[in-house]
Structure formats: structure tokens, C-alpha cells
Amino acid sequence: MTAAVLAQVVVSGALMGLVYALVAYGFQLTYATSKSINFGQGELVMVSAFVSLSLVNAGLPYGLVLPAGMLFGALLGLFVERAGVRLALEQKSEGWILMTIILGLFFLSAAENVWGRDDRPFPTPISSDPIHLLGVDITPLEISVAVGVFAVMGLVELFKRVTLLGKAFEAVSADRDAAELMGISARRAIMLSYGLSGMVAALAGILVSPITTVGPTMSSTLILKAFSVAVVAGLDSGFGVVVVGILLGALEAVTSLTVGSGWREAPGLVLLILALAVRPTGVFGKATIRKV
């Protein structure tokens, strides 16, 4: 294998890694307000991608499909919060883990029956003819993924850091009671974060589908990698998920090339278990203090 092939594989893998990072970022958004994550996030990605595909097939221009798909994702996120998370959080239980798994399973089944079990291509006006850049081939489609990921993460980070509402998010996460005493509704902050998280998931689906095709199985592969990224990076560092996402994407591509494509999932999973064992708060995460 030549260095050129390796470089090519690493670059393509890293670009896929950005999609993992984006899905993982969706976990961070909800974790930041409520210390909960949606175990069915992968299904949100998949269902939003299918809905967008239907919109494309219905003849809606791509420029409108993007916002419409993201809106749909946000609505799904809100539904997950209402149906799966709120009750458990108010009872201070961890029931949300099982509940979000259940909702994900429901979405998966619905998608299988509505859109079928086969993988389908996702047409896009963006070209997939490679252009030669610094010794590797890269397609405008792949570039659009990078642009989309960085744009939306940048915007959300800006919202979190610059607006007062974004700071209120962080306040809810730091101390829910104290935030309520400032007049901040913790419940609405959590709802909003689930909506945002759903929106981010939808965007990930719309960006990645033209490259990988759309199918019910895309959720399970994506979610595990996103979990790995989120856990290794820690659930509170937006910068961390990008770095780890890129690394994991590249690592996977190299593994797939050298060991065999069936082992593609393995590095992420091994990394996940190791990271959990060695540093449960993540490489970029913060430690907490136990109180009695």
C-alpha cells in the first residue's frame, strides 16, 4: 500500500468522522442541560434523512429540503423529550435510558415499514466528481459535509456563548434549582436543547446520506460511533468531539483497509470501552465531586 492510498483513505475517513462528531454534538447539547442523552439519536438521523428524501422526491428544491428536514428533526427531538425523558428526569430516575431506546426502536420500525428496508440513494445537486487537492482526491460533496458540520456547530456554539439564553442553558446544567431562582425555566431549556439536538441530528442525516445512501440500518452504525466519540471526548467539549471524530473516522478507514471491512466498527467500540474504563469523564471532560 502506498502512502498516497493511505493519505486518501485517511482524508475520506476523517471527513466521515466529522459526521460522527456532529451526531455526538447532539448528545452534548442535551447532556448540557439535563445530564441525559437520547439513545435513539441514530434513529432521529435516519428518519429525518428519509423524510428529507421524500421531500426531494416530491420535487422540493434542495435549498428548501435542508431547512424543512432540520425543522422535522427538531420536532422529533421535542417529541422524544416529552414522551421519553421528562417524566424520568422529574422523578430523578435513569428511566430515560430505556425510554429513549424504546422510542428509537419505534422510529426504526416505522421507517422500515414506511420507506422499506433497502438502502436508497439520496440525490443532491452537489457534484461528486473528485477534484485533486494537495495530493488527494476530494469531492465537493465531501467538502459540503465539512462546511455543514462546521457551520452548524459554529452557530450553535455562538448561540451558547454569546446569547443570554445560551448562558441560561449552562446555568441549568450547573445548578437546576439556582437557575429556576433566576427566573429560568429549566423545563423549557431542556425542551429547547432536545429540539436543537434533533435539528443537528437531521442535518447530519441530510449531509451524510448522499455519500452513504439512506437506509434503516444507518442508525445503528452511526449511533455507536457517535457514542464512542462523545464518550472519548467527554460530554461537555464541543472542540473535543471534532478532534476525536476526525481521529476515529481516519482510524476506522485505516482499519477497514488493513484488517478487513468487517472490522470497521471495532476500533470505535474498543476505544469506547477503554475510555470508559480509564477516564469515564472523557479526555476533554471535567471531573466531579461526590457529596454526602
Binding site: L164, L165, A168, D175, E180, G183
Partner: protein
Amino acid sequence: MLRVEGLHAGYGASEVLQGVTLEVGAGQLVALIGANGAGKTTTMRAISGLLKPARGRVILDGREVQGLEAFQIARLGLAHSPEGRKVFGPLSVEDNLLLGAFRRLPAFFGYRRHAAAGLERVYGLFPKLKDRRTQAAGTLSGGEQQMLAIGRALMADPKVILLDEPSMGLAPIIVQEVFATIRRLKEAGTTLLLVEQFASSALAVADRAYVMERGRILREKSTDDLRHDEGLLQAYLG
């Protein structure tokens, strides 16, 4: 300004408050004193909505607020500086103060401009906070965190402030500073309900005081009477 009538509240099956009645007039500083576990903090939590009262009424500026969510009560003008300060550790000092004014600021942009006067006032009161405005609140010393918690409550421009144990865990010299601040707030016409374990310090600044025991108000007295109540002081030496 704040009236509480026959308040019952508790955690799970145990009823901590068994009919608390008290009143704070506009511009008054009222102290609530009593032994550990008497129900002072629970009273405050039940007033501000962190704990849903089982029975009784809480009237803020002529409006019944019991049963509302804590954030709704806060928006109606009640600021509660909780026990243990509860500053937002990862956020900067200035962000903490801005969030204190959340109820009256625009949610997205331009909030700094709206909050400028309030910030100046708090920084005037606590110059140390101005020096540390960009520092994460969690890294402040205990005394500074208490200043921040009081400043955060002031930022809301509230009708009533509940101050829960502002002296907790602070060295005596800092405690004196805190009480000097409370005195200044009172002189500026702020309405305050103060929970305090340092009975005599609280009595030195308060207009009136209530003594609590086992979830009830034991007695209400002018502070002069209480201050000369040797038995009471003896009881709270520890």
C-alpha cells in the same frame, strides 16, 4: 410585601413545616432564626417554589404565588439567594450576574446594554467582583462567592430578597463584611427576609425577628426584646 400564612410543606412523608405564618413589610429587614433542622431553609424553599407547599398561602406584593413554578415566582420579583450560595461554578462572575437579571433582560442580544446600570451598582457594592468579572465563579473564595450570590439576587431588581445563611462557612472577618453589606442594602430600602444562625448578628441589623422551632414559628418579637433574651442566646451557642 411578602406574607406567608399557615404554610405546610415537607419532603416525602415527613412534614417539616407545620403552619408557618410570617410577614415582611416593604423596606423591612426581617430575620428568621432557630436551631439547625428547625425548618428555616425549608420555609425559604417553600416560599420561592423550589418546594411545593402542601397547604397554606404565599402572597407576594398582593398576589398569591403558592403552587407556581419557582421560575414563575422569580419572574414576579422574588429573589432567593439559597443556602450554600449555589453560584454557577463554570460560568464567569459577570455571566452569573447577568443571569441574575434574566427576568428583565432580552434573551438573545443587547442584554449587556440593558444590564449595564445594574452591573455598575453591584460592582459599586462589591468592587472585588469587578476585578474578577471574567473569572469562573467556582474558583472564587467562599466570601467572594457569597458576595456574588447576593449581587446576583440584586441584579433581578426584586421586590423581596430571601437570604439564606449568608455567613455560612465564612471566616468572622468576612461575616462582618457581609453584614455590613446587608445593612447598606437595608438603608437603600431593600426588602429582605434573612435566615441566619448567628442570632446576634442578625438581630443587630433586623427590624423584627421570628424564632422557629420544629417547623413552627415559636415567637415573634422586636429585635430589642430578643437581644436581651439571655436564654435564647445561650440556646444558640451551638
